[in-house]
Amino acid sequence: MLEFEDIQHILLTRTPALTGRYIFVKFGNAESGRAWLRGILRTVRSAAAVDTSKNKSSWVTVAFTWNGLRALGVDEETLSGFPDEFRQGMAARAEVLGDTGPNAPEHWVDGTNRLDLHAIAILFARDAQERGRCEVEHDELLTRCPGVEVISSLELEATPPYHYAHDHFGYRDRLSQPVIEGTEDIPYAGCGGPLKAGEFILGYPDESSQPYPMPDQKLSRNGSYMAYRRLEEHVGKFREFLAEHGETSEEQELIAAKLMGRWRSGAPLTLCPEKDDPELGADLNRANDFNYAKEDPHGYAVPLGSHMRRMNPRDTAVNMNRRRMIRRGATYGPHLPEGQADDGRERGIAAFVICASLIRQFEFAQNVWANDKNFHELGNERDPIIGNNHEGTLEYKIPKRPIRKKIVGLPAFTTVRGGAYFFLPGIEALNYLANLGSTARAAIPETEGASA
């Protein structure tokens, strides 16, 4: 039985992310950090509380780096129980993740590579007015917490058209997401059955049927790990590439689809290899209902190295239930209208990958699926969308009879601009952290989540 009232809503609920802000903070000292947390806790809701407040228009999540937990005063023994990759942090794991060259942490623009990055407050809001209201509220909180410093913040903004989620390249997003056993969600056809909660939430059995390690019961129960990625999308370069490889708009759409594995509408090439079917793309129960091993073993429809096939190889990989991840996030930066030259401003996706094991789930996907040049024995290829293609010497092969199309020198369409590993505590654990070192337990501010 999942403890919905103790799990932060972001883990189980996909709230609208039309706008919002990520705020990265540093605690000058433990008490200032705890005061900030006590203040913001009032706005942090559990999965249960979000379910009962459909009329809400803003949603807040709080998470900490390992250094942040230490800054709040968590004892060394507890801290040493966290897994190495979390303790080291994302910047230290750069080579494992493919964050080298222009993707390397020394080029990150938001201070997330700093060792004194302690926490993140995530705000998703339904509109700019609500976002503004929350920002003012947070600014007021900061004035009451001297010693808490905002390292950087990122304003989120959906890109037009607004009636469905998509990135700046135009690819439909939020297409497939694992379903957790014990929730009311029903998996879409082709997505497999619900997965054991322990794959995503600490303190529950996972898919291994083995005992599952948990750093510290009071701190980690109903918690999880979040990998943050700020990924700039080079829209101008992407459009130039399509124009270079496709004479007509139909040909350009096909090239875009071959990189992703889906048409930009979301329709998978497995089900409509020749022509887009936007209606199918919008129908999540049909848009995921396919496999590869028998239907497309050679990649004639979905190239073996395409983003969709790398990020979810379905029946062409084993142990898939131990590699799934929950994705949350939004786009940022201004929309670049079609036909307009790139203005050089940064735009992209700022997303969170939520999983119970960063090394087994997130790092595996980055290291093996996205950046192994020899994935599926392709040789000299990386994920065409999120892989590190900055060397400019990598290829992209599109199987086709009689002879495949081989693109040599695939450009990098994305650059990593920031990233960090966070621990996402449950509501009770947030209260515990907020009052560390305090004897006046009665002074704990009651949260909406805890009272729901």
Partner: protein, 201 residues
């Protein structure tokens, strides 16, 4: 004047693209890595790719009196692969060799594998296969093998790393070729033979 012998710090071997499919040899520095190009994997540095691609040679002492378990394991693997030919597919294997040998009254186990990917990449998948198919007995007969290996792939990987004896020289008659390429070449050859047979009609 005495000659000073310097260990090769930087590989003089021809790069893969120059010798792919042909003969080549690579001398590997002591310790198993080329200091100028150590790639970091999720579980630590990755042993370098050679003309054989990737591989390991694990040598460990067995628990006294467990020899029979190894011979039973051999029969299990034989039956497992016969029943499910792609049982070990995830390991991206070329070959595996298992051997037992004695040193001063103790029995040691050697396990040598040639892979198309470094072993760390798919270790959790391998552990999952071993534990879910009952092919797990042989490692449990090795001294020092972690008892919680099924739930702790990192402990499994640590054991493998600690007992791996890196090569100092590797040679291939056909370098840097994947098992998939070999199998594909044989398919093409057999396919062409079929075409030629059909042309006789």
């Amino acid at each position: 004047m005495a000659t000073v012998l310097e260990r090769p710090k930087v590989s003089k071997a021809l790069p893969p693209e120059k010798v792919k499919g042909r003969q080549s040899a690579v001398a590997i520095p002591e310790g198993g890595y080329f200091p100028d190009k150590v790639e970091q994997g999720r579980f630590g540095p990755i042993f370098p790719r050679t003309p054989l691609n990737y591989g390991f040679t694990i040598i460990a002492k067995i628990k006294p009196g467990t020899q029979a378990n190894f011979y039973q394991y051999a029969r299990n693997i034989e039956e497992g692969v016969a029943a499910t030919p792609d049982l070990l597919d995830v390991l991206k294997l070329h070959t595996l060799k298992w051997a037992l040998f004695d040193i001063k009254g103790d029995t040691y186990f050697m396990y040598q594998g040639i892979f198309d990917t470094d072993f760390d990449k798919y270790t959790e998948d391998a552990v999952n296969i071993f534990s879910s198919t009952g092919l797990d007995t042989v490692f449990e007969n090795l001294e020092g093998f972690p008892e919680d290996w099924k739930s702790n792939p990192q402990a499994f990987i640590r054991f493998v790393r600690e007992h791996h004896r890196p090569s100092f020289l590797e040679y291939a008659e056909y370098s840097y070729v994947t098992a998939k390429e070999v199998k594909s070449a044989l398919e093409v050859k057999n396919g062409l033979a079929n075409v030629l047979d059909n042309m006789q009609l």
